[in-house]
Symmetry: C2
Subunit: 698 residues, 2 copies
Amino acid sequence: MRRRHTTSRVASPTLSQTHLMLLRPLLSSASRAAPLLAAAKPRSPQPLAADTAAAFRQLAGMAAALAPPSTAAGSREAFRVAVTNTLERRLFYIPSFKIYGGVAGLYDYGPPGCAVKANVLAFWRQHFVLEEGMLEVDCPCVTPEVVLKASGHVDKFTDLMVKDEKTGSCYRADHLLKDFCKDKLEKDNTLSPEKAAELNHILAILDDLSAEQLGAKIKEYGIVAPDTKNPLSDPYPFNLMFQTSIGPSGLSAGYMRPETAQGIFVNFKDLYYYNGNKLPFAAAQIGQAFRNEISPRQGLLRVREFTLAEIEHFVDPEDKSHPKFGDVSDLEFLMFPREQQLTGQSATKLKIGQAVSEGTVNNETLGYFIGRVYLFLTQLGIDKDRLRFRQHLPNEMAHYAADCWDAEIECSFGWIECVGIADRSAYDLRAHSDKSSVPLEAHEKFAEPREVEKLVITPSKKELGLAFKGNQKMVLEALEAMNETEALDMKAALESKGEVEFKVCTLGKDVTINKNMVTINIEKKKEHQRKFTPSVIEPSFGIGRIIYCLFEHCFYQRSGKAEDEQLNVFGFPPLVAPIKCTVFPLVKIEKFEVVAKKISKALTAAGISHIIDMTGTTIGKRYARTDEIGVPLAITVDNTTSVTMRDRDSKDQIRVEVDEVASVVKEVTDGQSTWADIMWRYPAHTASAVDDEETVET
Amino acid sequence: MRRRHTTSRVASPTLSQTHLMLLRPLLSSASRAAPLLAAAKPRSPQPLAADTAAAFRQLAGMAAALAPPSTAAGSREAFRVAVTNTLERRLFYIPSFKIYGGVAGLYDYGPPGCAVKANVLAFWRQHFVLEEGMLEVDCPCVTPEVVLKASGHVDKFTDLMVKDEKTGSCYRADHLLKDFCKDKLEKDNTLSPEKAAELNHILAILDDLSAEQLGAKIKEYGIVAPDTKNPLSDPYPFNLMFQTSIGPSGLSAGYMRPETAQGIFVNFKDLYYYNGNKLPFAAAQIGQAFRNEISPRQGLLRVREFTLAEIEHFVDPEDKSHPKFGDVSDLEFLMFPREQQLTGQSATKLKIGQAVSEGTVNNETLGYFIGRVYLFLTQLGIDKDRLRFRQHLPNEMAHYAADCWDAEIECSFGWIECVGIADRSAYDLRAHSDKSSVPLEAHEKFAEPREVEKLVITPSKKELGLAFKGNQKMVLEALEAMNETEALDMKAALESKGEVEFKVCTLGKDVTINKNMVTINIEKKKEHQRKFTPSVIEPSFGIGRIIYCLFEHCFYQRSGKAEDEQLNVFGFPPLVAPIKCTVFPLVKIEKFEVVAKKISKALTAAGISHIIDMTGTTIGKRYARTDEIGVPLAITVDNTTSVTMRDRDSKDQIRVEVDEVASVVKEVTDGQSTWADIMWRYPAHTASAVDDEETVET
């Protein structure tokens, strides 16, 4: 989605709408929220490892007082408060530099959040880099101006800003207009149907308004600074990159990269060589990106520094088939093609194979990545009923882009773009090739040489020298630089009239060319290879947004034993759970503590993150604590030879021999088995002492 | 090592030497190179997994034409050229933004480099975060000024710079003086013994020279700009942080963090709470750090953006014992205590247990981390003969620091500081506590209440009101703010004279206090807990430097079959190898390719990074290619039921059943078994077809 505005205030006043779209699409806001989805639960064509856990979460969620977000704004708000309270209290995240009052749009991941992030990134590497044999690179955040000039960010990566004319406070112009319209529509009962329609229209076209149009509307509606009621300046573009200076001279401008992709594009030549000069191949990068938002909103969803994971899959523009497309073609999930959006329909379930064969999705490679992204997100624990792939509307898409789809996840803020999957054609490589004068091309060797028609312009140096003397070189170069149309026109004129007037820009005048001075022919040539600029298909993942949506999708509450008590649970799949297992001695006696330590040692050796809780508070309270940070398995040491293992979501308990504990935990957390699998292999545990988990003492 | 200068040009002209040392020690240059080490191979007290591979590397290295760096500068230079050529050609790293001419001090990791880095970081997480139960956090790089003001970086994180007075080119003042001295000493045969001694003295004290002293020497020796021979400006401090601005107003200064530690300190309160209000605990962070070097040198060792991994272990200053110290106390390795350095001796092997018990290392916790760092580095593949722990000299250490040791690794640039391990006492927490007014303290609950003597100052409001009316509050506050000495002096004066003159700063004058106005007593009180600011022990890892040294330590060459042919090998331990295994069909026939694909699938499922090479070039050439990127195991498919598995370093080959390949590779690369272990379990392979690996066709 293109959300960064360029306006006629930018240096070049002749920028057309087409130019406005040159900028790369970027992870953007959820402002273009679509109608809320109420689809039936889809049947997955491939059983996923996360399914069982998801089913448990769903069952548990049904019994809970607080259901996942529904269409009612109030309950969504309450749900969000419950989630974010738990997240903040358990240090999943912390407002950065809190002791100094914090900085808007900057957050730390605390210990459990940091572990979830590390798990998400490790799975991303496994699922994309390793399984697809991608070339991962790691480039600096500090980027010299020339790179971001070529990419268009220096000139066009802007938001329109207005300033409080008295205090200098800054606001996003579109936010103020949006808030005004929404507020009027919600609260003003005197609104005429015409006025309401007008305001709704503005909300619909908000992203397309120019600085002038936005300014005019702000004036027309008398919108003032929300905090002070002071008048506002005209809107003007504010570049969202953090600027800095590289080296000690202060003369070399640099920026903190707004995305990781450019680091891959500038390395195309080396990476192509590394891949044996063969296409297709994909490069990938995980790293920090920076955007100096004017006024960050929406908590963890709109921040000033965040982790991106980006893939640039380079492919022959004439062959965008994918050898492994068959592996995903039967996957069925919610898709929201352009036509459905424009005709007011909702997203529907579609097989990705069908979407590609019918032309809804432009090509197999794009379709393959859509399928792989679907698998990635759902295996992490994203609810497939609240995940859809939305195609960009024509006005959202850059003119050069072949097709773009966003993976949108529904959370309490609405549908949030979390992954953008775009076929960006050859735009980025061409931009850097032009600016750097380094060709960024691929070549295809033909099995058999091919006959092609080629324009051949052969100036006669002798004749040109006689006619133009010192100007000979300039004329010669101008002749050689003619494009096909110009050359064929000249050929025709020379054949009919024998001579022709020819403008030589470097001389600043016309000269007369006669037919002895140049030979122009279309010749048939044998070519052994073709050179071309590869197309790039770019899946770009906003890791922080995915993690936030995961938090919401995994969160549920269930009743405790005390009246009105609600216990919080993060039902993370073992894959992403920050801690895989807890170990509790049932009571504080030495022989149990010895066993607990022995188990802890075995878990460490197996590389399993776990906590050991010797505090001796009630088991119920200890379960509640670890449920709240989403620990899937809890071991209670209530015996010296075997222990109780409890599943977080079902609360089922089994008995496992002490020596087997680590391997069973590893089996479940590595995803080789589910809880359902192992439950049948071990005796159930039903002793009441360990059962009273809802008795939470305070 | 303190390498950032503060000079009297900085705002406060009264900064003393003590103030100069307030700044946190930071990973620094190898300028303080010590005499080269020629120690015997140490016997490791604990057999390490990496030992066997290291032994192979050493054996192979002996046969190589190019030995590991010796004391001869020329051969070190040649060795470095061979390593860096291989690193650049195989894209371990790439100068960033190369197509635009690059930026000094910025490098990308290409695919194999990126994989090595990911492996090093994953092992760091396993070895420190997981095994020690540390609290990992992830904070932003963008940091508001107030945080770095508190830490001292805004005022003191500087290098002294001189400018070419005509072109404005910038140089590090100490570099120019150092180069001048070295050059003179090396090339000027007419140098008098006195002059030589003077220049050597300057080299020795270079880090301690003030701006004035540096400037005076530059003038005295007539040092000019190296490129233009123009005169130079006086030296002045240049702050090495990349500056930026947070938010749209341009009024809120920010910097890209120069280290990750501050993010942990500002979160101390929350992390302490998360840990159940218990000490000791450690927090850890991995992330990018930024330093705008004046003129980066030494390739990958001195860069403008790099990855740090830092640990802050918070501990009661009165109890720095460590429960797991016994696990490392028998480790024996090269240590270079202060005394040895000052008396011109070399580093010697010492057991860390002994070093702590004799007081050479300040405390157990510091000693424990030194031991853990030793294990970390040697398990990665750092040669233990080229690793030493060097204690900071008194002039390198901040005045508040209890003790500091650097893990230094010897490479072709000399001894390089790669890990700093410092007991920083309570300095950092106090600095942020003072600046933010948020107490960053811990408390210890006493098992039994303790009787303590406490100063109690009780002003009489009534008397003060009568005497001072409107000024009452100021006098009262000044009385309450007295320290113990002041209060006891006043008490004595009041008892002997009945009244005393007392300066009230807020009033700017003295007032007379009589004995009715205040009661001062030392009272015995029962205390149930004590409050204190924890000490912090900080191991700080320069990941890029460790990786570069690892590259050098793992690199060797061996003769190929062709005359003079030298084959490059990176003998990485499986743990860090970028690719664990290659799969080659011996010849290009379908049945072998089918088996190769089957093995590839099994390796992917097991999460093992590998490459499959179907190009059909000679096996020898394919081996040479993968040896050069350090792939430990190669599978040659020469049969449909069993295959040849070849070890990179020994070149030994065994035969393994197709179905067992993935599990055998996993066993070796996970570190459960070494090649030596599995060699005895499988039949050796001796067929000549696969044996001709030195026949590299070009």
